[in-house]
């Protein structure tokens, strides 16, 4: 057996893994990654006072190496690391919830081309190193740091395959203004976002001839009875529209008009939700439940955001539900400003 394979086995034994083989975090590789990240090994990035732990830059650099990332991805990795470790992201909750969510990494702007991220066929799950390893890095930070290095368990009831790698990049020829403009960034600015998210729900409509019918189909998917957000109205949704659907939708709707349309149409009868157990018996007043009014899975239309990605052939879109107790964080790679998505009433 080669030393490399032996070292990969040692990583498994020590818990340095996400379940898949990793690149062993040799110190010279970690040093190279640290230099690219612009951190010193002992820089403290986060402190957990309750569990008496700290996360240093060397830990994130080690994870980046293990995930198979190149130092050329460092500015994206640093932004992801900083956002995941911010108290507002609630990484421990993301890691341990029964909701079984993953960290979706969202990339938009010139960085998509610079890192040759996949935006066409199979944009989610593309066999392209940059997106696959950046997405894996985010999951490994969740898995290793979010559960305090193994002191806590991850209780996701089902989970989903994005817990190994989950990354989406926006097409550079997007018909609406870029994803990042929904967070106040310029269309020409490279941005990276992180969102605690369930798996993508496919939306198929091959015979619609209008954008309105595409949006009606998406609205129906947003408001299906099992969607997690109906009671707490937290988390929000990322609606991914692929080009064939987008051509129909963009011909009839601005992004703001589409958002308003979905907000109004994506509703269910509250009495039905209560009857089947989606609204608890002891209703918390803060939830603003009106049994006689339709109920949306979001409290504000701004909790719905859009991205255009996917192959140019195929009439599909996807709905990516966010976790109820999280908001999307988006960071500009040039200025370093972080913007958060609108919170529900959670």
């Amino acid at each position: 057996m080669s030393d490399l394979v032996a070292d990969m086995r040692i990583c498994f034994e020590r818990g340095y893994t996400d379940g898949l083989p990793v690149v062993p975090p040799y110190s010279e590789l970690v040093d190279e990654m640290l230099a690219a990240l612009g951190w010193s090994a002992s820089d403290v990035l986060a402190v957990d006072e309750e569990l008496r732990l700290e996360i240093r830059a060397e830990q994130l650099a080690s994870i980046a190496v293990m995930a198979g990332c190149e130092p050329a991805y460092a500015r994206v990795l640093r932004a992801i690391g900083e956002m995941l470790l911010a108290p507002t992201f609630n990484l421990r909750g993301v890691a341990t919830t029964t909701g079984g969510v993953a960290v979706l990494v969202i990339l938009a702007g010139p960085v998509v081309g610079e890192l040759e991220l996949a935006t066409g066929s199979n944009a989610l799950g593309a066999p392209v190193r940059s997106g696959a390893t950046i997405g894996r890095f985010a999951q490994m930070v969740r898995h290793i740091c979010g559960r305090a290095g193994g002191l806590l368990d991850e209780f996701g009831t089902i989970g989903h395959p994005g817990r190994l790698s989950y990354c989406v990049a926006e097409r550079q020829d997007t018909m609406w203004p870029g994803f990042q403009t929904q967070f106040g960034f310029d269309a020409g600015e490279s941005c990276v976002g992180v969102m605690a998210a369930e798996g993508p729900n496919s939306v198929n409509n091959h015979y619609a001839e209008t954008g309105e019918h595409i949006l009606e189909t998406i609205a129906h998917g947003l408001a299906h009875w099992g969607t997690t957000n109906f009671y707490y109205q937290g988390g929000g949704y990322l609606v991914l529209i692929a080009p064939e659907h987008m051509r129909l939708v963009a011909a009839e709707f601005s992004r703001e008009a589409a958002r308003q349309f979905l907000f109004e149409r994506a509703v269910a009868l509250t009495r039905d939700l209560a009857r089947i157990g989606r609204i608890p018996r002891g209703i918390d007043k803060a939830r603003n439940v009106d049994l006689d009014a339709p109920r949306s899975p979001v409290a504000h239309q701004d909790q719905i955001t859009f991205i255009e990605s996917g192959g140019s052939a195929g009439k599909f879109s996807a709905i990516i539900p966010g976790w109820v107790a999280n908001v999307t964080h988006v960071k500009g790679l040039a200025g370093g400003r972080v913007a958060l998505s609108r919170k529900g009433v959670f």
């Binding site: 030393d3 490399l4 032996a6 070292d7 086995r9 040692i10 990583c11 020590r14 818990g15 340095y16 062993p24 975090p25 040799y26 110190s27 010279e28 970690v30 090994a41 002992s42 402190v47 957990d48 008496r52 732990l53 700290e54 996360i55 240093r56 060397e58 830990q59 650099a61 080690s62 994870i63 190496v65 293990m66 609630n90 909750g93 919830t97 029964t98 490994m140 290793i144 740091c145 305090a148 290095g149 193994g150 707490y232 608890p280 002891g282 918390d284 803060a286 109820v324 107790a325 959670f346």
Partner: protein, 97 residues
């Protein structure tokens, strides 16, 4: 750096969070023989805690009514923290399904 040797005698940098040196400030000595259980409002959690409360009562332990958080994830308000801190028995966080 937090490092270990590999099979190839190269140094591996641990990705695991690093313990902060010093004692962990934990006190589990209750002033009275009673328990306060805290959990979310989800039925799974409450069923388990109600069963735990019943077992404790059989052992002669006083169990306060279960304190239910308004939502399962967010921290409680300061006033409720103060209320929990005044409890003279053992305060236990529950299942949080």
């Amino acid at each position: 750096m937090s490092m270990e040797h590999s099979a190839s005698c190269r140094l591996l940098v641990s990705p695991l969070p690093v313990p902060i040196p010093g004692p962990l400030p934990v006190s589990v000595r209750a002033a009275e023989r009673s328990v306060l259980l805290i959990d979310s409002r989800k039925p799974n959690s409450l069923r388990i805690l109600e069963h735990a409360a019943e077992l404790l009562r059989r052992e002669g332990v006083e169990v306060a009514p279960i304190a239910k958080k308004k939502n399962p994830v967010n921290s409680e308000e300061e006033a409720r923290h103060a209320e929990f801190a005044r409890h003279r028995g053992l305060v236990l966080l529950g299942v949080f399904d």
